[in-house]
Protein backbone atom coordinates (compact mmCIF):
# COMPACT_ATOMS: atom_id res chain seq x y z
CA UNK A 1 0.00 0.00 0.00
CA UNK A 2 2.79 2.38 0.90
CA UNK A 3 4.35 1.86 -2.56
CA UNK A 4 1.05 2.60 -4.26
CA UNK A 5 0.61 5.83 -2.34
CA UNK A 6 4.14 6.78 -3.34
CA UNK A 7 3.50 6.10 -7.04
CA UNK A 8 0.34 8.18 -6.94
CA UNK A 9 2.21 10.98 -5.18
CA UNK A 10 5.05 10.97 -7.72
CA UNK A 11 2.78 11.04 -10.77
CA UNK A 12 0.63 13.77 -9.31
CA UNK A 13 3.77 15.83 -8.85
CA UNK A 14 4.68 15.36 -12.53
CA UNK A 15 1.25 15.57 -14.16
CA UNK A 16 -0.73 17.60 -11.63
CA UNK A 17 -3.72 16.53 -9.56
CA UNK A 18 -5.65 16.16 -12.77
CA UNK A 19 -7.28 13.53 -14.83
CA UNK A 20 -4.36 13.40 -17.26
CA UNK A 21 -2.33 11.84 -14.44
CA UNK A 22 -4.64 8.82 -14.39
CA UNK A 23 -3.07 6.60 -17.03
CA UNK A 24 0.52 7.32 -15.94
CA UNK A 25 -0.52 6.34 -12.38
CA UNK A 26 -2.12 3.11 -13.59
CA UNK A 27 0.98 2.35 -15.68
CA UNK A 28 3.20 3.05 -12.67
CA UNK A 29 1.26 0.58 -10.55
CA UNK A 30 1.39 -2.07 -13.29
CA UNK A 31 5.16 -1.56 -13.48
CA UNK A 32 5.36 -2.11 -9.72
CA UNK A 33 3.18 -5.20 -9.30
CA UNK A 34 1.80 -6.17 -12.73
CA UNK A 35 -1.84 -5.38 -12.05
CA UNK A 36 -4.12 -2.80 -10.46
CA UNK A 37 -6.35 -4.01 -7.65
CA UNK A 38 -9.78 -2.58 -6.96
CA UNK A 39 -8.44 -1.16 -3.73
CA UNK A 40 -5.77 0.75 -5.67
CA UNK A 41 -8.45 2.22 -7.91
CA UNK A 42 -10.24 3.57 -4.85
CA UNK A 43 -7.01 5.23 -3.70
CA UNK A 44 -6.43 6.74 -7.16
CA UNK A 45 -10.03 7.96 -7.29
CA UNK A 46 -9.57 9.76 -3.98
CA UNK A 47 -6.28 11.30 -5.03
CA UNK A 48 -7.66 12.63 -8.34
CA UNK A 49 -11.14 13.44 -7.06
CA UNK A 50 -12.84 11.05 -9.49
CA UNK A 51 -15.37 8.30 -8.86
CA UNK A 52 -13.90 4.83 -8.46
CA UNK A 53 -16.25 3.66 -11.23
CA UNK A 54 -14.71 6.21 -13.56
CA UNK A 55 -11.22 4.96 -12.75
CA UNK A 56 -12.30 1.37 -13.30
CA UNK A 57 -14.06 2.27 -16.56
CA UNK A 58 -10.90 3.84 -17.88
CA UNK A 59 -8.49 1.20 -16.60
CA UNK A 60 -10.52 -1.67 -18.05
CA UNK A 61 -10.43 -0.09 -21.51
CA UNK A 62 -6.70 -0.72 -21.95
CA UNK A 63 -5.14 -4.11 -22.49
CA UNK A 64 -1.85 -3.24 -20.78
CA UNK A 65 -3.64 -2.27 -17.56
CA UNK A 66 -4.48 -5.59 -15.91
CA UNK A 67 -7.14 -5.80 -13.24
CA UNK A 68 -6.42 -9.40 -12.27
CA UNK A 69 -3.29 -10.63 -10.63
CA UNK A 70 -0.68 -11.50 -13.24
CA UNK A 71 2.68 -13.18 -13.13
CA UNK A 72 5.94 -11.33 -12.81
CA UNK A 73 6.51 -11.96 -16.53
CA UNK A 74 3.56 -11.50 -18.86
CA UNK A 75 4.02 -13.32 -22.16
CA UNK A 76 1.99 -11.77 -24.97
CA UNK A 77 1.86 -13.88 -28.12
CA UNK A 78 0.88 -12.09 -31.33
CA UNK A 79 -2.29 -13.53 -32.85
CA UNK A 80 -2.39 -11.47 -36.04
CA UNK A 81 -2.85 -13.22 -39.34
CA UNK A 82 0.75 -13.28 -40.52
CA UNK A 83 2.09 -14.62 -37.21
CA UNK A 84 -0.67 -17.21 -37.35
CA UNK A 85 0.39 -18.21 -40.87
CA UNK A 86 3.96 -18.65 -39.70
CA UNK A 87 3.18 -21.09 -36.94
CA UNK A 88 1.86 -19.19 -33.94
CA UNK A 89 -0.26 -22.20 -32.90
CA UNK A 90 2.77 -24.43 -32.48
CA UNK A 91 4.62 -21.77 -30.53
CA UNK A 92 1.65 -21.29 -28.24
CA UNK A 93 1.40 -25.03 -27.68
CA UNK A 94 5.10 -25.16 -26.81
CA UNK A 95 4.61 -22.32 -24.33
CA UNK A 96 1.66 -24.08 -22.72
CA UNK A 97 3.68 -27.29 -22.40
CA UNK A 98 6.75 -25.51 -21.08
CA UNK A 99 4.83 -23.48 -18.49
CA UNK A 100 2.21 -26.18 -17.80
CA UNK A 101 -0.63 -23.68 -18.03
CA UNK A 102 -3.28 -22.87 -20.61
CA UNK A 103 -3.63 -19.66 -22.55
CA UNK A 104 -4.99 -16.97 -20.22
CA UNK A 105 -3.60 -18.57 -17.07
CA UNK A 106 -0.85 -17.72 -14.59
CA UNK A 107 1.61 -20.24 -13.14
CA UNK A 108 1.18 -21.24 -9.48
CA UNK A 109 4.38 -19.53 -8.44
CA UNK A 110 3.07 -16.29 -10.01
CA UNK A 111 6.09 -16.11 -12.25
CA UNK A 112 4.46 -16.29 -15.71
CA UNK A 113 1.17 -15.35 -17.35
CA UNK A 114 0.35 -16.39 -20.91
CA UNK A 115 -1.95 -14.26 -23.06
CA UNK A 116 -2.56 -13.48 -26.71
CA UNK A 117 -2.42 -9.98 -28.11
CA UNK A 118 -3.10 -8.14 -31.35
CA UNK A 119 -0.41 -7.15 -33.83
CA UNK A 120 2.96 -6.37 -32.22
CA UNK A 121 4.34 -4.69 -35.34
CA UNK A 122 6.79 -7.55 -35.88
CA UNK A 123 4.99 -9.17 -38.80
CA UNK A 124 8.07 -9.52 -41.00
CA UNK A 125 9.92 -11.43 -38.27
CA UNK A 126 7.06 -13.51 -36.86
CA UNK A 127 5.91 -15.49 -35.07
CA UNK A 128 6.56 -12.94 -32.36
CA UNK A 129 5.86 -12.37 -28.69
CA UNK A 130 6.67 -9.96 -25.88
CA UNK A 131 7.89 -10.99 -22.45
CA UNK A 132 6.95 -7.88 -20.50
CA UNK A 133 8.51 -5.28 -22.83
CA UNK A 134 11.11 -7.46 -24.52
CA UNK A 135 10.28 -8.67 -28.06
CA UNK A 136 11.16 -12.20 -29.30
CA UNK A 137 10.97 -12.93 -33.02
CA UNK A 138 11.29 -15.79 -35.52
CA UNK A 139 9.98 -18.11 -32.81
CA UNK A 140 9.86 -21.87 -33.14
CA UNK A 141 8.69 -24.45 -30.59
CA UNK A 142 12.35 -25.44 -30.16
CA UNK A 143 13.35 -21.96 -29.05
CA UNK A 144 10.74 -21.68 -26.30
CA UNK A 145 12.56 -23.65 -23.62
CA UNK A 146 15.65 -21.45 -23.82
CA UNK A 147 13.70 -18.21 -23.76
CA UNK A 148 11.67 -19.26 -20.72
CA UNK A 149 14.73 -20.60 -18.89
CA UNK A 150 16.28 -17.16 -18.89
CA UNK A 151 13.27 -15.77 -17.03
CA UNK A 152 12.89 -18.77 -14.73
CA UNK A 153 16.29 -18.00 -13.30
CA UNK A 154 15.63 -14.30 -12.85
Amino acid sequence: MAEIAKIIQEKVETYGRERKALIPILQGIVAEKNYVENQDMVSIAKALDLSAADVYGTASFYSFIENEEKGEFVIRVCKSITCEMKGKHKVLKALEDELRIKLGETTHNKKFSLVETNCLGLCDVGPAMLVNEEPYTHLTPEKIHDVISVYRNK
Binding site: I23, Y62, T82, M85, N118, C119
Partner: protein, 387 residues
Protein backbone atom coordinates in the same frame (compact mmCIF):
# COMPACT_ATOMS: atom_id res chain seq x y z
CA UNK B 1 -2.59 6.32 -63.82
CA UNK B 2 0.06 3.69 -63.47
CA UNK B 3 3.73 4.27 -63.99
CA UNK B 4 3.75 0.68 -65.21
CA UNK B 5 6.58 -0.62 -63.19
CA UNK B 6 7.87 -0.87 -59.72
CA UNK B 7 10.25 1.90 -58.80
CA UNK B 8 12.27 1.76 -55.66
CA UNK B 9 13.11 4.94 -53.83
CA UNK B 10 15.76 5.58 -51.24
CA UNK B 11 14.78 8.77 -49.50
CA UNK B 12 13.40 7.97 -46.09
CA UNK B 13 15.99 5.43 -44.99
CA UNK B 14 19.07 6.99 -46.58
CA UNK B 15 21.72 7.19 -43.89
CA UNK B 16 22.86 10.35 -42.13
CA UNK B 17 24.66 11.58 -39.09
CA UNK B 18 23.51 15.11 -38.33
CA UNK B 19 21.98 15.94 -41.73
CA UNK B 20 18.37 16.05 -40.47
CA UNK B 21 19.29 18.88 -38.10
CA UNK B 22 21.17 20.62 -40.91
CA UNK B 23 17.90 20.52 -42.84
CA UNK B 24 16.13 21.99 -39.85
CA UNK B 25 18.68 24.78 -39.63
CA UNK B 26 18.51 25.60 -43.34
CA UNK B 27 14.71 25.48 -43.29
CA UNK B 28 14.60 27.89 -40.37
CA UNK B 29 16.41 30.46 -42.47
CA UNK B 30 13.51 30.55 -44.90
CA UNK B 31 10.13 32.20 -44.70
CA UNK B 32 7.54 30.19 -42.74
CA UNK B 33 4.76 30.65 -45.28
CA UNK B 34 7.11 29.62 -48.05
CA UNK B 35 7.92 26.35 -46.25
CA UNK B 36 4.27 25.50 -45.62
CA UNK B 37 3.56 26.33 -49.24
CA UNK B 38 6.31 23.99 -50.36
CA UNK B 39 4.67 21.19 -48.40
CA UNK B 40 1.36 21.88 -50.10
CA UNK B 41 3.09 22.01 -53.47
CA UNK B 42 4.85 18.71 -52.85
CA UNK B 43 1.50 16.94 -52.81
CA UNK B 44 2.40 15.07 -49.63
CA UNK B 45 -0.55 13.36 -47.99
CA UNK B 46 -0.72 12.01 -44.46
CA UNK B 47 0.78 8.54 -44.15
CA UNK B 48 -1.38 7.46 -41.20
CA UNK B 49 -4.16 6.13 -43.41
CA UNK B 50 -6.62 8.97 -43.94
CA UNK B 51 -4.42 10.69 -46.55
CA UNK B 52 -5.21 14.30 -45.67
CA UNK B 53 -2.96 16.83 -47.49
CA UNK B 54 -0.22 17.67 -45.00
CA UNK B 55 0.52 21.22 -46.21
CA UNK B 56 -3.09 22.23 -45.76
CA UNK B 57 -3.20 20.78 -42.26
CA UNK B 58 -0.08 22.72 -41.28
CA UNK B 59 -1.52 25.89 -42.80
CA UNK B 60 -4.67 25.65 -40.68
CA UNK B 61 -2.58 24.85 -37.63
CA UNK B 62 -0.28 27.82 -38.22
CA UNK B 63 -3.32 30.10 -38.35
CA UNK B 64 -4.39 29.12 -34.82
CA UNK B 65 -3.26 31.75 -32.37
CA UNK B 66 -2.67 30.36 -28.93
CA UNK B 67 0.17 30.46 -26.41
CA UNK B 68 -0.11 26.67 -26.01
CA UNK B 69 -0.16 24.50 -29.13
CA UNK B 70 0.67 20.80 -29.30
CA UNK B 71 2.37 18.73 -31.96
CA UNK B 72 1.71 15.03 -31.64
CA UNK B 73 3.61 12.39 -33.55
CA UNK B 74 1.26 9.45 -33.90
CA UNK B 75 3.36 6.35 -33.23
CA UNK B 76 0.45 4.16 -32.20
CA UNK B 77 0.91 1.93 -35.26
CA UNK B 78 -1.58 -0.79 -34.35
CA UNK B 79 -2.95 -1.77 -37.75
CA UNK B 80 -2.16 -5.47 -38.19
CA UNK B 81 0.56 -5.83 -40.80
CA UNK B 82 2.10 -2.38 -40.22
CA UNK B 83 5.60 -1.92 -38.86
CA UNK B 84 7.12 0.91 -40.92
CA UNK B 85 6.84 3.49 -38.13
CA UNK B 86 8.79 1.27 -35.75
CA UNK B 87 11.53 0.94 -38.33
CA UNK B 88 11.67 4.71 -38.86
CA UNK B 89 11.90 5.33 -35.12
CA UNK B 90 14.67 2.76 -34.79
CA UNK B 91 16.71 3.59 -37.90
CA UNK B 92 16.14 7.26 -38.70
CA UNK B 93 14.67 8.88 -35.56
CA UNK B 94 16.34 12.20 -36.38
CA UNK B 95 14.34 12.54 -39.58
CA UNK B 96 11.14 12.11 -37.59
CA UNK B 97 12.15 14.53 -34.83
CA UNK B 98 13.43 17.12 -37.30
CA UNK B 99 10.07 16.91 -39.12
CA UNK B 100 8.30 17.61 -35.83
CA UNK B 101 10.68 20.49 -35.15
CA UNK B 102 10.06 22.02 -38.58
CA UNK B 103 6.33 21.88 -37.83
CA UNK B 104 6.96 23.52 -34.46
CA UNK B 105 8.95 26.32 -36.02
CA UNK B 106 6.65 26.86 -39.01
CA UNK B 107 3.42 26.77 -36.99
CA UNK B 108 4.65 28.41 -33.74
CA UNK B 109 4.12 25.51 -31.37
CA UNK B 110 6.31 24.73 -28.40
CA UNK B 111 5.10 21.36 -27.14
CA UNK B 112 5.83 18.08 -28.87
CA UNK B 113 4.66 14.63 -27.87
CA UNK B 114 5.52 11.26 -29.39
CA UNK B 115 2.57 8.99 -28.64
CA UNK B 116 4.20 5.58 -28.62
CA UNK B 117 2.16 2.40 -28.42
CA UNK B 118 2.79 0.27 -25.32
CA UNK B 119 4.03 -2.60 -27.48
CA UNK B 120 7.00 -0.40 -28.49
CA UNK B 121 8.06 0.50 -24.94
CA UNK B 122 11.41 -1.18 -25.51
CA UNK B 123 12.27 1.67 -27.90
CA UNK B 124 11.97 4.33 -25.19
CA UNK B 125 15.58 4.38 -23.88
CA UNK B 126 17.07 4.97 -27.35
CA UNK B 127 14.41 7.54 -28.24
CA UNK B 128 15.11 9.45 -25.05
CA UNK B 129 18.77 9.67 -26.01
CA UNK B 130 17.76 10.96 -29.43
CA UNK B 131 15.59 13.62 -27.84
CA UNK B 132 18.61 14.76 -25.83
CA UNK B 133 20.65 15.05 -29.00
CA UNK B 134 17.86 17.08 -30.53
CA UNK B 135 17.72 19.35 -27.47
CA UNK B 136 21.37 20.27 -28.01
CA UNK B 137 20.64 21.37 -31.57
CA UNK B 138 17.43 23.14 -30.64
CA UNK B 139 19.40 25.20 -28.13
CA UNK B 140 21.97 26.05 -30.77
CA UNK B 141 19.28 27.10 -33.23
CA UNK B 142 17.34 29.06 -30.61
CA UNK B 143 14.28 26.89 -31.15
CA UNK B 144 11.99 26.51 -28.17
CA UNK B 145 10.45 23.07 -28.65
CA UNK B 146 10.10 20.48 -25.94
CA UNK B 147 9.61 16.85 -27.02
CA UNK B 148 8.24 14.19 -24.67
CA UNK B 149 7.29 10.56 -25.03
CA UNK B 150 3.84 9.43 -23.98
CA UNK B 151 3.45 5.70 -23.64
CA UNK B 152 0.11 4.23 -24.69
CA UNK B 153 -1.71 1.64 -22.63
CA UNK B 154 -2.71 -0.91 -25.26
CA UNK B 155 -5.70 -0.08 -27.49
CA UNK B 156 -5.70 -0.04 -31.29
CA UNK B 157 -8.41 2.60 -31.45
CA UNK B 158 -6.06 5.12 -29.80
CA UNK B 159 -4.35 5.47 -33.19
CA UNK B 160 -7.43 7.45 -34.25
CA UNK B 161 -6.38 11.00 -33.49
CA UNK B 162 -9.27 12.06 -31.27
CA UNK B 163 -9.23 8.77 -29.34
CA UNK B 164 -5.50 9.30 -28.90
CA UNK B 165 -6.19 12.72 -27.39
CA UNK B 166 -8.93 11.34 -25.12
CA UNK B 167 -6.54 8.72 -23.81
CA UNK B 168 -3.82 11.32 -23.16
CA UNK B 169 -6.39 13.22 -21.16
CA UNK B 170 -6.84 10.17 -18.95
CA UNK B 171 -10.08 8.87 -20.41
CA UNK B 172 -11.27 5.81 -22.31
CA UNK B 173 -9.94 5.99 -25.85
CA UNK B 174 -13.25 6.75 -27.52
CA UNK B 175 -13.19 8.83 -30.72
CA UNK B 176 -14.84 12.23 -30.57
CA UNK B 177 -17.23 13.77 -33.03
CA UNK B 178 -15.56 15.93 -35.67
CA UNK B 179 -15.78 18.92 -35.97
CA UNK B 180 -14.28 20.41 -33.94
CA UNK B 181 -11.02 19.09 -35.34
CA UNK B 182 -7.91 18.69 -33.18
CA UNK B 183 -6.31 21.53 -35.12
CA UNK B 184 -8.74 23.89 -33.38
CA UNK B 185 -9.69 21.96 -30.28
CA UNK B 186 -7.36 19.10 -29.43
CA UNK B 187 -5.34 18.01 -26.41
CA UNK B 188 -6.68 19.78 -23.29
CA UNK B 189 -8.76 21.95 -25.58
CA UNK B 190 -5.70 23.46 -27.27
CA UNK B 191 -4.82 23.55 -31.00
CA UNK B 192 -3.16 20.21 -31.78
CA UNK B 193 -1.44 18.94 -34.91
CA UNK B 194 -1.46 15.16 -35.22
CA UNK B 195 0.68 13.59 -37.93
CA UNK B 196 1.94 10.10 -38.52
CA UNK B 197 5.61 9.16 -37.93
CA UNK B 198 6.25 8.67 -41.65
CA UNK B 199 4.53 11.96 -42.49
CA UNK B 200 6.95 13.89 -40.26
CA UNK B 201 9.96 12.11 -41.77
CA UNK B 202 8.61 12.86 -45.26
CA UNK B 203 8.18 16.56 -44.36
CA UNK B 204 11.82 16.72 -43.44
CA UNK B 205 12.66 15.17 -46.83
CA UNK B 206 10.47 17.64 -48.71
CA UNK B 207 12.41 20.43 -47.00
CA UNK B 208 15.63 18.78 -48.04
CA UNK B 209 14.85 18.14 -51.70
CA UNK B 210 12.30 20.88 -52.38
CA UNK B 211 8.74 20.39 -53.53
CA UNK B 212 9.52 20.08 -57.23
CA UNK B 213 11.94 17.20 -56.85
CA UNK B 214 9.83 15.38 -54.26
CA UNK B 215 6.82 15.70 -56.53
CA UNK B 216 8.66 14.09 -59.40
CA UNK B 217 8.40 10.77 -57.56
CA UNK B 218 5.16 8.84 -57.98
CA UNK B 219 2.26 9.64 -60.29
CA UNK B 220 0.04 12.62 -60.94
CA UNK B 221 -2.32 11.54 -58.15
CA UNK B 222 0.08 10.10 -55.63
CA UNK B 223 3.27 12.00 -55.03
CA UNK B 224 6.50 11.02 -53.42
CA UNK B 225 7.72 7.80 -51.98
CA UNK B 226 5.83 5.61 -49.60
CA UNK B 227 6.82 2.90 -47.18
CA UNK B 228 5.22 -0.49 -47.56
CA UNK B 229 5.23 -2.91 -44.64
CA UNK B 230 5.27 -6.24 -46.41
CA UNK B 231 4.50 -9.53 -44.70
CA UNK B 232 2.94 -12.90 -45.42
CA UNK B 233 3.85 -15.32 -48.18
CA UNK B 234 6.80 -13.42 -49.57
CA UNK B 235 10.51 -14.13 -49.64
CA UNK B 236 11.09 -10.39 -49.21
CA UNK B 237 9.21 -9.46 -46.09
CA UNK B 238 10.16 -6.14 -44.53
CA UNK B 239 9.76 -2.43 -45.16
CA UNK B 240 10.15 -1.30 -48.78
CA UNK B 241 10.22 2.28 -49.99
CA UNK B 242 8.56 2.62 -53.37
CA UNK B 243 7.28 5.34 -55.63
CA UNK B 244 3.54 5.42 -55.62
CA UNK B 245 1.43 4.35 -58.56
CA UNK B 246 2.37 0.74 -59.30
CA UNK B 247 -0.04 -2.02 -60.26
CA UNK B 248 -0.66 -4.88 -57.88
CA UNK B 249 0.70 -7.21 -60.56
CA UNK B 250 4.05 -5.40 -60.55
CA UNK B 251 4.13 -5.68 -56.82
CA UNK B 252 3.31 -9.37 -56.85
CA UNK B 253 5.89 -10.09 -59.50
CA UNK B 254 8.59 -8.51 -57.38
CA UNK B 255 7.50 -9.63 -53.94
CA UNK B 256 5.23 -12.67 -54.31
CA UNK B 257 6.34 -16.28 -53.92
CA UNK B 258 5.10 -17.30 -57.37
CA UNK B 259 1.82 -18.63 -56.03
CA UNK B 260 0.06 -15.47 -54.85
CA UNK B 261 -3.69 -15.71 -54.58
CA UNK B 262 -4.58 -12.43 -52.89
CA UNK B 263 -2.97 -9.23 -51.65
CA UNK B 264 -4.32 -7.21 -48.76
CA UNK B 265 -3.63 -3.53 -49.36
CA UNK B 266 -3.87 -0.87 -46.66
CA UNK B 267 -3.99 -3.25 -43.73
CA UNK B 268 -7.10 -4.94 -42.42
CA UNK B 269 -8.99 -1.66 -42.92
CA UNK B 270 -8.12 -1.83 -46.63
CA UNK B 271 -9.06 -4.08 -49.51
CA UNK B 272 -8.22 -7.65 -50.38
CA UNK B 273 -7.33 -7.87 -54.07
CA UNK B 274 -7.84 -11.28 -55.76
CA UNK B 275 -5.55 -12.56 -58.50
CA UNK B 276 -7.95 -11.69 -61.31
CA UNK B 277 -7.73 -8.00 -60.36
CA UNK B 278 -3.94 -7.75 -59.98
CA UNK B 279 -3.57 -6.22 -63.43
CA UNK B 280 -6.26 -3.61 -63.07
CA UNK B 281 -5.65 -2.41 -59.53
CA UNK B 282 -3.24 0.40 -58.79
CA UNK B 283 -1.90 0.65 -55.29
CA UNK B 284 -2.92 3.91 -53.67
CA UNK B 285 -5.81 4.71 -56.02
CA UNK B 286 -9.16 4.22 -54.34
CA UNK B 287 -7.65 1.91 -51.77
CA UNK B 288 -6.13 3.21 -48.59
CA UNK B 289 -2.52 4.28 -48.38
CA UNK B 290 -1.65 3.03 -44.91
CA UNK B 291 1.05 0.87 -46.42
CA UNK B 292 0.43 -2.49 -44.79
CA UNK B 293 0.58 -5.10 -47.50
CA UNK B 294 0.02 -8.77 -46.81
CA UNK B 295 0.47 -11.47 -49.41
CA UNK B 296 -1.48 -14.73 -49.29
CA UNK B 297 -0.63 -17.75 -51.43
CA UNK B 298 -2.93 -20.51 -52.59
CA UNK B 299 -2.39 -22.65 -49.49
CA UNK B 300 -4.15 -20.06 -47.31
CA UNK B 301 -7.78 -20.23 -46.34
CA UNK B 302 -9.42 -16.86 -46.91
CA UNK B 303 -12.05 -17.89 -44.39
CA UNK B 304 -9.33 -17.99 -41.75
CA UNK B 305 -8.06 -14.64 -42.95
CA UNK B 306 -11.37 -12.80 -42.64
CA UNK B 307 -12.14 -14.63 -39.38
CA UNK B 308 -8.86 -13.34 -37.98
CA UNK B 309 -9.62 -9.76 -39.12
CA UNK B 310 -13.14 -9.82 -37.66
CA UNK B 311 -11.84 -11.15 -34.39
CA UNK B 312 -9.52 -8.17 -34.33
CA UNK B 313 -12.24 -5.64 -35.15
CA UNK B 314 -14.68 -7.08 -32.61
CA UNK B 315 -12.03 -6.91 -29.93
CA UNK B 316 -10.74 -3.44 -30.77
CA UNK B 317 -14.09 -1.70 -31.38
CA UNK B 318 -14.29 0.89 -28.61
CA UNK B 319 -17.95 -0.04 -28.22
CA UNK B 320 -19.18 3.52 -28.29
CA UNK B 321 -21.57 3.14 -31.21
CA UNK B 322 -23.97 0.27 -31.75
CA UNK B 323 -23.40 -0.49 -35.46
CA UNK B 324 -19.73 -1.11 -34.89
CA UNK B 325 -19.96 -2.80 -31.47
CA UNK B 326 -22.73 -5.22 -32.47
CA UNK B 327 -21.94 -5.33 -36.20
CA UNK B 328 -18.41 -6.64 -35.78
CA UNK B 329 -19.67 -9.43 -33.50
CA UNK B 330 -22.56 -10.31 -35.81
CA UNK B 331 -20.30 -10.54 -38.85
CA UNK B 332 -18.03 -12.91 -36.95
CA UNK B 333 -20.89 -15.09 -35.75
CA UNK B 334 -22.45 -14.88 -39.20
CA UNK B 335 -19.52 -16.32 -41.14
CA UNK B 336 -19.17 -19.06 -38.53
CA UNK B 337 -22.85 -19.94 -38.98
CA UNK B 338 -22.53 -20.13 -42.76
CA UNK B 339 -19.41 -22.26 -42.48
CA UNK B 340 -21.08 -24.72 -40.14
CA UNK B 341 -24.15 -24.93 -42.38
CA UNK B 342 -26.40 -23.44 -39.74
CA UNK B 343 -27.22 -20.58 -42.12
CA UNK B 344 -27.72 -20.77 -45.91
CA UNK B 345 -25.19 -19.44 -48.38
CA UNK B 346 -27.41 -16.43 -49.14
CA UNK B 347 -26.86 -15.25 -45.58
CA UNK B 348 -23.49 -13.97 -46.78
CA UNK B 349 -25.33 -11.32 -48.80
CA UNK B 350 -27.14 -10.15 -45.68
CA UNK B 351 -23.79 -9.91 -43.92
CA UNK B 352 -22.32 -7.80 -46.73
CA UNK B 353 -25.35 -5.52 -46.43
CA UNK B 354 -24.78 -5.26 -42.70
CA UNK B 355 -21.16 -4.28 -43.26
CA UNK B 356 -22.30 -1.54 -45.66
CA UNK B 357 -24.73 -0.25 -43.06
CA UNK B 358 -21.82 -0.11 -40.63
CA UNK B 359 -19.94 2.05 -43.10
CA UNK B 360 -22.80 4.54 -43.20
CA UNK B 361 -23.62 4.62 -39.52
CA UNK B 362 -20.40 4.13 -37.57
CA UNK B 363 -18.76 7.07 -35.91
CA UNK B 364 -15.13 6.53 -36.85
CA UNK B 365 -12.88 4.87 -39.38
CA UNK B 366 -12.80 1.55 -37.54
CA UNK B 367 -16.48 0.72 -37.95
CA UNK B 368 -16.62 2.44 -41.33
CA UNK B 369 -13.83 0.41 -42.91
CA UNK B 370 -14.76 -3.13 -41.88
CA UNK B 371 -16.75 -3.51 -45.09
CA UNK B 372 -13.63 -2.96 -47.24
CA UNK B 373 -11.94 -6.22 -46.40
CA UNK B 374 -15.16 -8.02 -45.56
CA UNK B 375 -16.94 -7.35 -48.86
CA UNK B 376 -13.85 -7.92 -50.96
CA UNK B 377 -13.09 -11.29 -49.37
CA UNK B 378 -16.67 -12.55 -49.22
CA UNK B 379 -17.30 -11.49 -52.81
CA UNK B 380 -14.10 -12.89 -54.30
CA UNK B 381 -13.68 -16.03 -52.22
CA UNK B 382 -17.27 -17.02 -51.68
CA UNK B 383 -16.72 -20.75 -52.03
CA UNK B 384 -14.10 -20.64 -49.30
CA UNK B 385 -16.65 -19.04 -46.97
CA UNK B 386 -19.04 -21.95 -47.47
CA UNK B 387 -17.05 -25.16 -47.84
Amino acid sequence: MSNNKLKRADILFSSYSVAPYEILKRTMQKDKDFVINELTESGLRGRGGAGFPTGLKWKFFAQEENETKYIICNADEGEPGTFKDRKLLVEVPRKVISGMAIAAWACNAKNGIIYLRAEYNNLIPELKKEIEVFNEYAKKFNLEFNVEIYSGAGAYICGEETALIESMEGKRGEPRNKPPFPIQNGYLGKPTLVNNVETFAACSMVCRYGAAEYKSYGTSDQHGSKLFSLSGDSPKEGVHELELGMKVSDFVEEYGDGDTKAVQIGGVAGFCIPRKEFDTTIIGEGNTTGGATMIFNSTRSMYNVIHNYLDFFAEESCGQCTPCRIGTQQLLKGIEAVKSGEKPESYLDDLVKLSKTMKLTSKCGLGQSVTNSFSSIVKNFREEMIY
